[in-house]
């Protein structure tokens, strides 16, 4: 499935222009990558100057940052949060852990390939990536959005069965009740 940029209507192009200039990220920090975000947010690299800012809830945010390794239990929460976000939504995977498992490649509880479970628009390599790399990833994502090629959310809608199958294989069941969140 290829979603071409020529498919876009005029108003979609206009929407993509605004989406590329103003990205609110969800502050869901899963691993060690969370420590790269304070320098990216504060005076040193100042994420706000390119229109990004942290938002408190999934409903308000556009970008989901998966910062580091994901245990199977966390993946379940990431999927909950991702599905709560409103379309169009984007995902950035940080570090080698989201790419191939990183140093946790043989762990019994850590997933190895994030884009099997939710669509990822941009990956940042490194363990951990420096804030420069993180800022570069944000810039890349903005360019992709403006060009209309950041279509992970459309992919997720169209291949829902495939993603759900993968999620079931790794997690057993996606919707579970645990005693702390009843």
């Amino acid at each position: 499935m290829v979603l071409d940029e020529k498919d876009r209507k005029t108003w979609e192009e206009l929407g993509d222009f605004f989406r590329g200039k103003s990205m609110w990220m969800m502050h869901f920090c899963t691993g060690c990558g969370a420590i790269e975000l304070p320098p990216a947010m504060t005076s040193r690299f100042d994420m706000e100057r390119i229109g990004m800012g942290p938002m408190a809830t999934p409903r308000q945010s556009d970008v989901l940052l998966v910062t580091g390794y994901l245990s199977a239990k966390t993946l379940r929460r990431v999927i909950y949060s991702y599905e709560q976000m409103l379309n169009p939504k984007y995902v950035i995977g940080f570090g080698s852990c989201t790419l191939n498992g990183g140093v946790y490649y043989d762990s019994y509880s850590t997933i190895n390939k994030l884009d099997n479970y939710i669509p990822v628009d941009v990956f940042v390599a490194g363990c951990m990536p420096r804030p420069e790399a993180v800022m570069n990833a944000f810039k890349d994502l903005m360019d992709k959005i403006k060009a209309g090629t950041a279509n992970g959310w459309k992919k997720y809608q169209e291949n829902k069965e495939w993603y759900e199958e993968n999620q079931k294989l790794a997690l057993g069941e996606v919707d579970v009740k645990d005693e702390f969140h009843e």
Partner: protein, 305 residues
């Protein structure tokens, strides 16, 4: 029918949108400069609003949808009655009580919609917002009542007109205690930093706004910008002499709003119970002293210099 009034009112809405939203971007820039950052461009808030408008909506029931529209509509209706630099949409309708009552529709709509979303954080946020309202309204109303008692009118444009003739005639300097109280209450109304308990993002996940996204969030941002315009204009009209010209009015507006932002960057956040205790101690006492002075001596209304 007075069609002119509707045209002026509509123009006022457009002007308030352009002015307040770009001013919001400038305030973000000022905050960034105080933090030694570069900050977003001045038009960033426009981009944010249009971006939020371009997202797909989600609904949690008709109360959730209706409350948002009620909040935005109520606030826009209030704004039409606000005199800006002597420009009034509907003559003899710019009464303080009209504004106060209409402004409540906006907050009630938001409260209704937020509770309708069913998220417990939203209920906590609404509870905090209403508690905070109880805190700042009492000192503010006592101060404004003092002015209304002194000038024997509740028309905002008349009160603004009576302060002409130099800055010493401004109510800020005629009633200094009342002016300070009104400024502290203004910060509470705007929800600026020491008084931003209702939307504490790190504590209660942005409070009433927790379930909003996309178009609903954009409408609530607009509602916030319009009510900010109403509140700051009210302060400028009542305490800084309004403005003979639009330039003077906007300069005063800018200075007041920037001062609240600069205070907000430098302080932390009150707990909700500390906030109520604060409002009911210092500003309430000052407001009562000011009222007693005006009622028993007439100082301030008859100028003392």
């Amino acid at each position: 029918m007075n069609y002119m009034g509707f045209i002026i009112g509509f123009g006022l809405l457009l002007f308030a949108f352009a002015w307040q939203v770009s001013l919001d971007g400038i305030q973000r820039k000022i905050t960034a400069r105080i933090h030694k950052r570069f900050g977003p461009p001045w038009y960033q808030t426009f981009l944010d609003i249009f971006k939020a408008m371009s997202k797909e909506p989600i609904s949690h029931g008709w109360i959730y949808d209706f409350g948002v529209m009620m909040a935005l509509g109520g606030t826009m209706a209030t704004l039409i009655f606000m005199p800006v630099a002597g420009i009034i949409s509907f003559d003899n309708m710019d009464n303080f009580f009209v504004i106060t009552y209409l402004l409540a529709i906006g907050s009630l709509g938001m409260a209704m919609s937020a509770v309708g979303s069913g998220n417990p954080w939203a209920s906590i946020g609404v509870m905090r917002a209403l508690t905070q309202m109880v805190g700042y309204e009492l000192p503010f109303i006592i101060t404004v009542m003092t002015i209304i008692f002194g000038f024997k009118t509740s028309s905002i444009s008349t009160i603004a007109h009576l302060q002409q003739g130099g800055f010493l005639y401004w109510n800020m300097f005629r009633f200094p205690l009342g002016g300070i109280v009104a400024f502290v209450s203004l910060m509470g109304m705007l929800g600026k930093k020491p008084f931003d308990t209702p939307i504490a993002p790190a504590e209660i996940a942005s409070g009433p706004l927790v379930e909003y996204g996309g178009k609903h969030l954009a409408m609530l941002i607009l509602q916030h910008e319009f009510s900010t315009f109403i509140e700051v204009s009210l302060f400028v009209n009542l305490f800084l002499g309004g403005g003979p010209t639009i330039i003077a009015f906007l300069t005063k507006y800018f200075l007041v709003y920037t001062l609240t932002t600069m205070i907000a960057t430098a302080v932390g956040r009150f707990k909700i119970d500390d906030l109520i205790k604060f409002y009911y101690k210092v500003p309430l006492a000052m407001a009562v002293v000011q009222a007693l002075v005006v009622v028993f001596t007439g100082l301030g209304v008859t100028i003392w210099f």
